[in-house]
């Protein structure tokens, strides 16, 4: 029993790294070298605002999102290493952020070492997740950009809420969704979230959901405007 309590005291963090297509595996590899036991990679589509893009509409920037979970101190050192190795300080090399987790299960690693109690972070950034029906991510991103966001990552996904039928012909259906992930300064969050809500009519049922999580640290984000 003592063992269990000890495990609960430890703090875990999630590190999300967004990099160009093909780099994800390298990030994961480096993460593993830094002591993280594993990770999950999925594909996304990056959007970032710039004038020429609007004209040619060539904005299919394929990105990979790498999620890694480990204890706080491991995540911190891994995040530093990764952001240096892949030069997140330069524009368009990728971004990363970390967020605290409440629970983490599934890793058989029972060795215990004493960790200091984490105080509550005074976070500067928040990650906004918007889940909408396929095709509406565009609306979300443009509304967010209009309200001051710099860009986001769109991920294709499936899922279903209570408002959706689940069978077509002989197929079990999970309707297609898009997940939009945006990283924002905390003070901007409210305006952006409101803008997204208005644009997608989210107050009506069946139009999607939004949630935000506090972010501890970010790498590769910029204040400068183009």
């Amino acid at each position: 029993m003592n063992m269990l309590e000890n495990t609960l005291k430890r703090t875990y963090e999630m590190l999300a790294v967004i990099v160009n297509f093909g780099v994800g595996s390298k990030v994961l590899h480096l993460g593993k070298k830094c002591g993280i036991s594993g990770g999950t990679i999925f594909l996304g589509k990056g959007t970032q605002h710039c004038l020429l893009n609007d004209f040619f509409d060539i904005c299919d920037e394929r990105v990979e999102v790498v999620l890694m979970i480990a204890r706080t101190e491991k995540i911190e050192s891994a995040a530093e290493t990764i952001s240096q190795k892949f030069k997140f300080a330069k524009a368009n090399h990728g971004i990363a952020f970390t967020a605290a987790l409440n629970n983490f299960l599934g890793v058989r690693n029972c060795s215990y070492d004493k960790t200091h109690e984490e105080g509550v972070y005074k976070t500067m950034y928040e990650a906004i997740f918007v889940i909408v029906d396929r095709g509406n991510a565009e609306t979300v991103v443009s509304a967010a950009e209009a309200a001051g966001a710099k860009g986001g990552t769109i991920m294709n996904a499936r899922g279903s809420g209570i408002h959706e039928y689940s069978r077509l012909f002989a197929m079990d259906i999970e309707p297609e969704k898009e997940v939009v992930m945006l990283i924002l300064e905390t003070e901007k969050t409210e305006t952006v979230v409101n803008a997204i809500q208005d644009a997608t009519e989210m107050s009506k049922p069946g139009n999607g959901i939004i949630f935000t999580i506090g972010v501890n640290k970010t790498y590769g984000l910029y204040q400068n405007n183009h």
């Binding site: 299919d60 396929r134 999970e174």
Partner: protein, 500 residues
């Protein structure tokens, strides 16, 4: 800056795929096959056009063709009415195929060699009906969860039965027709359609059913041509085809001459997709302004890109293909022909537009698990073997086409029960994908050139049948890749009892 990055990245990728074939021809030029300067310059200009055209075309597919296909697939299925699925399947299949320029070319050739017993119009009509029916069948298979392997077994069983009554020439022509109808534009579109339907599915089934529609649709063309030759009783092949060689020393002029033809062909092929898109947009899509604008831009990119690409291939590559084939086949050592054929097959597939689209879609569907490069290696080896074997057939007249096709397809069908489901669809799609404009012009010209300088070889009979091989070998190659994956992907230390 982002756009420069994206453009540059895409351009680099395309360059890497076109460079190998260019280099090999340049090396051949300085060794075995000295080409005249204007021809060489035209070839290089052609390669440049191919790189630029392919880059633009791929953006066009991403922004225009693929989203339209996806949307149509999704919306047709969401109607939840069988008659809508059937009617849309028939309409889509028929119109895409009727407008396919490659089909017009092969139909014209068949009309010539059959002395107009089978007219060009008839072939285009029947092949299009065949594709329409099979595309619909493919739709129904996905929505009713029927096994792809079983359906393919039935279809190829039918083909085997009909082929017993077909002459050797028509056997070749019918398999070629299937390769021809799955052109650079249709393949990405059909791929996207299948993805649109199957992405609705739940869980593992979604990934597994994303592929296979191209493979099913192509059997429609095979069956249509075979049945036609049986019904019409055209057993004799007469007439002959003349390879055209321009002796012009002009460098730019041939490109300018080809340009209007290509523009017409691509516009024609694009037309049904555009019309159907407009109809769907009014009835069900109702896209907002921004996504709509993007799709329109995508269609424009597709048009420009494909025109540049095809102009480059036709004006720059075709002639070189014929010359290289002719010169090498007239060398004393016949083994060189097989070797060079295999080498060209190895690299030419990399520059095939639809291959690019397929491999990208495979990456997307499997979340990057099945890497583009791995699939490309398998495809390259398959096509290389296909061209090599075809050259062997030209040299050794005793080898008949069915000596390859029968065991080949038998193996493909048997393997389809052994490999993971995802690979079955992918493999049969890759057959249609590989036999695109690059093979149909460059490699075909190479084979015809080789046949022309080989005694006892018939330009026509040996020319036909090549595309059939290029369509078959990648199926087997990818299935073997699937088998390897199945055997290798067992998580270390964890026993897995999952059945495909």
């Amino acid at each position: 800056m982002v756009i420069i990055n994206i453009l540059f990245e895409k351009f680099r990728e395309v360059l890497v795929s076109v460079l190998p074939i260019t280099l090999i021809v340049v090396i051949l030029n300085f060794t075995l096959v000295p080409l005249e300067l204007p021809i060489m310059l035209r070839f290089l200009l052609g390669a440049l056009l191919i790189v630029v055209g392919l880059t633009i075309f791929l953006f066009g597919v991403d922004l225009g063709i693929a989203p339209i296909g996806n949307l149509m697939g999704t919306h047709i299925t969401k109607s939840n009415k069988v008659w809508i699925v059937i009617v849309s399947g028939l309409l889509l299949g028929f119109f895409i195929s009727v407008a396919e320029p490659d089909l017009h070319i092969i139909a014209g050739q068949v009309a010539i060699v059959s002395d107009n017993i089978i007219t060009k119009f008839e072939i285009i009509l029947y092949v299009s009906v065949g594709i329409a029916l099979l595309l619909t069948l493919g739709f129904l298979r996905i929505i009713y969860n029927k096994s792809l392997s079983i359906l393919l077994t039935i279809l190829y069983g039918l083909i085997l039965i009909v082929s017993l009554f077909t002459t050797e020439e028509f056997l070749a022509i019918s398999f070629d027709a299937s390769g021809a109808t799955t052109g650079a534009m249709t393949v990405p579109f059909i791929l996207a359609l299948a993805l649109g339907i199957s992405s609705l599915k739940k869980g593992r089934a979604s990934e597994d059913n994303s592929f296979g529609l191209v493979g099913i649709a192509s059997t429609g063309a095979i069956l249509a041509v075979m049945l036609m030759s049986v019904v019409k009783g055209t057993n004799e092949i007469s007439g002959s085809l003349d390879g055209e060689l321009s002796n012009s020393t002009a460098i730019i002029l041939p490109f300018l001459q080809k340009l209007p033809t290509m523009l017409y062909e691509v516009a024609l092929a694009l037309l049904p997709i555009v019309i159907l898109f407009i109809v769907f947009q009014i009835i069900t899509f109702k896209l907002k302004k921004r996504p709509l604008k993007r799709i329109i831009k995508g269609l424009v990119y597709t048009l420009i890109g494909l025109v540049l690409f095809l102009t480059g291939v036709n004006a720059g590559f075709m002639e070189v293909g014929t010359l290289v084939g002719y010169t090498i086949a007239s060398l004393d050592n016949k083994a060189i022909l097989v070797g060079i054929g295999g080498l060209l097959g190895l690299v030419v597939i990399l520059a095939e537009p639809a291959v690019y689209v397929l491999t990208k879609q495979i990456e997307d569907v499997t979340s990057g698990y099945l890497k583009r490069r791995v699939v490309l290696v398998a495809l390259s080896l398959g096509v290389s073997l296909a061209v090599g074997l075809s050259m062997l057939r030209i040299i050794v007249p005793e080898i008949k086409l069915w000596h390859y096709l029968l065991p080949g397809y038998l193996l493909a069908i048997v393997l389809s029960y052994l490999v993971p489901k995802l690979f079955v669809g992918m493999s049969f799609d890759s057959g249609g994908v590989s036999s695109g404009p690059m093979t149909a012009t460059f490699i075909l010209a190479f084979a015809q050139g080789a046949a022309a300088s080989t005694e006892g070889a018939d330009v026509l009979v040996d020319g036909f049948g090549l595309i059939a091989m290029v369509a078959m070998m990648p199926i087997i190659a990818l299935e073997i890749l699937g088998l390897i994956f199945k055997l290798k992907t067992v998580k270390g230390g964890i026993s897995e009892d999952e059945h495909a």
